[in-house]
Symmetry: C2
Subunit: 355 residues, 2 copies
Amino acid sequence: MTLGEPDLEALARGCAVFGGGGGGDPTLGYVMAREAIRRNGPVPVVDLDELPDDGLILPVAMVGAPTVIEEKIPNGSEGERIQAVYERHFGRPVVAFAVAELGGVEGMLPVAWAAHARLPLADCDLMGRAFPEIHMCTPNLHGLPIGPVVVTDERGNIATFTSIDAAWAERLVRPTCTAMGSCASLAIYPMTAARARGAVVRGSLTRAVQVGRLLEAGDPVAVLEAEVGAVRLIEGKVADVERWTTQGFARGSAVIEGFGDDAGRLLRLEFQNENLVALLDGEVVASVPDVITVLDHGGGAVVSERLRYGQRVTVISFPCHPAWRTATGLGLVGPRAWGYDLDYVPVERIHAARA
Amino acid sequence: MTLGEPDLEALARGCAVFGGGGGGDPTLGYVMAREAIRRNGPVPVVDLDELPDDGLILPVAMVGAPTVIEEKIPNGSEGERIQAVYERHFGRPVVAFAVAELGGVEGMLPVAWAAHARLPLADCDLMGRAFPEIHMCTPNLHGLPIGPVVVTDERGNIATFTSIDAAWAERLVRPTCTAMGSCASLAIYPMTAARARGAVVRGSLTRAVQVGRLLEAGDPVAVLEAEVGAVRLIEGKVADVERWTTQGFARGSAVIEGFGDDAGRLLRLEFQNENLVALLDGEVVASVPDVITVLDHGGGAVVSERLRYGQRVTVISFPCHPAWRTATGLGLVGPRAWGYDLDYVPVERIHAARA
């Protein structure tokens, strides 16, 4: 696959659905990717099997509060700066960028950086969705080292972390990101193509583009039911949003009042950048690591920082990547990892029980 | 000069006086330096002129709250780990460690690391005293780059910062230090001997040992009057101490009630690790960048985290290194840099006016 200007909208739309309320609004990333492609041409998206075994891949992302990312925008040379640090560190060239997490801005910015560097994008990501913390990546489940993690801001400051484990990388990167102004650009899990093959979520970009295309054409809920196994949680109106930007995250909750068939029902969503738990009339109907996404009436995903009173939305949920449903996966990103005292039940199982 | 076990006490005593309430209690550093010297032999202290022009020097220190440093002790391999990062970065060996700031633990730990690495110590420091923030170094006045700054903790985490300026290094290092548990080890201003010669405070270690030796023998106040131009501010009893460990610093204030000739007088000391301002009966009698040191009855300097109710002390102040009295120097570390709305007056001038 090659990502040209005409593919960006489908990619953005698809990534936003997988983002589960996080990963940032795609607009900024879309504009940056479009401009980079106009200047340097389309970006090849290559399967990991097409890359040389020892080829160095850089999964990149923005880190921080999406509420801030929209206002404190990258200066465009972040990818280049990060690439230079790794090439110096490893003494060899980067062969491809990768998307660290699927999400609006998170799926688009790597396109801009790849176009800028005239490098391909590996067709994969590290989560199969978006998560707010940097150690929440499938390579962590395979024991791959997260570092060196290179963080940079739009001023040109660079911080490099080699930590004793992935959780410590998160602990050290987060306050750096906060000190940089609550958002920054980074690369994590630099790895060879050979290492990546068994440790990442493969085919993410082609899948996001495919889902994005179908969403443009058909009924969003029907498309997502068919394509990703989505379950409809509620259709309604946003009645309340609480949101605060703190410790580098956008945290909060929203209440959606059902209408139509769902009249009289209340859905409560809790989020930390991404939607973490959905409670329908007080009962858990979906939780991390399954993806919970709010769709607006145009079928586009609404990121948590854009939720607002009065919005008419449909909330869906769909199964996460199987890696997250293992004991190790749930230990890292299951409900208890977020402080929720509840057992994870796969969303399709909750749905079957309720039906 | 060579620093052997018998010299350590004089060095510790001297450094603590220059530390101005900061730089940490020397006990921990003393023990680490003594053990390293017992294992690997004495540490040569060499003048910068004796080092090759392009020889790489690493000024090292602990950063953070001295209240924490005493309880969360280094594991001993910090110097080694930091050295390895720089040698990889610059592609050549480190020829000497240096003391980044004169102070109790700050003057001793580099001795331990130098002994461990079997490297000499350059006879210099970057402040001529201790300051709480890492950009408060004389090389900053000469436009030398502070980075890469390498920070490590006792667990083995390593963070490297290349910042757009020295103030940004401080802004990024501080929360990392806090995340590491409010104290960490670091190196700043890595530089060649040629660069260092005109940009650092030279002869610090020999001077600290010399002052430390004299203090062991004679009346402390008389020794310091003669050796460093000290002025006696008050002799009295600590009547009140407020101290809180916050944002990686030990901040607070102390009140000393005069006795003897000073009966009826009150001295208020304000500190952020180091003593910043001394007010006698409400009038400023000494302020940063001049050094304000509290001496106990044995003539030893009392670090701010050890001040306690009922202690009998003499408070002295003496002129800082001339570099700090320039307009640039005062811009960086004068009273206004700490939020005090007062003009700096050299301590000997205040003293002459009051006499």
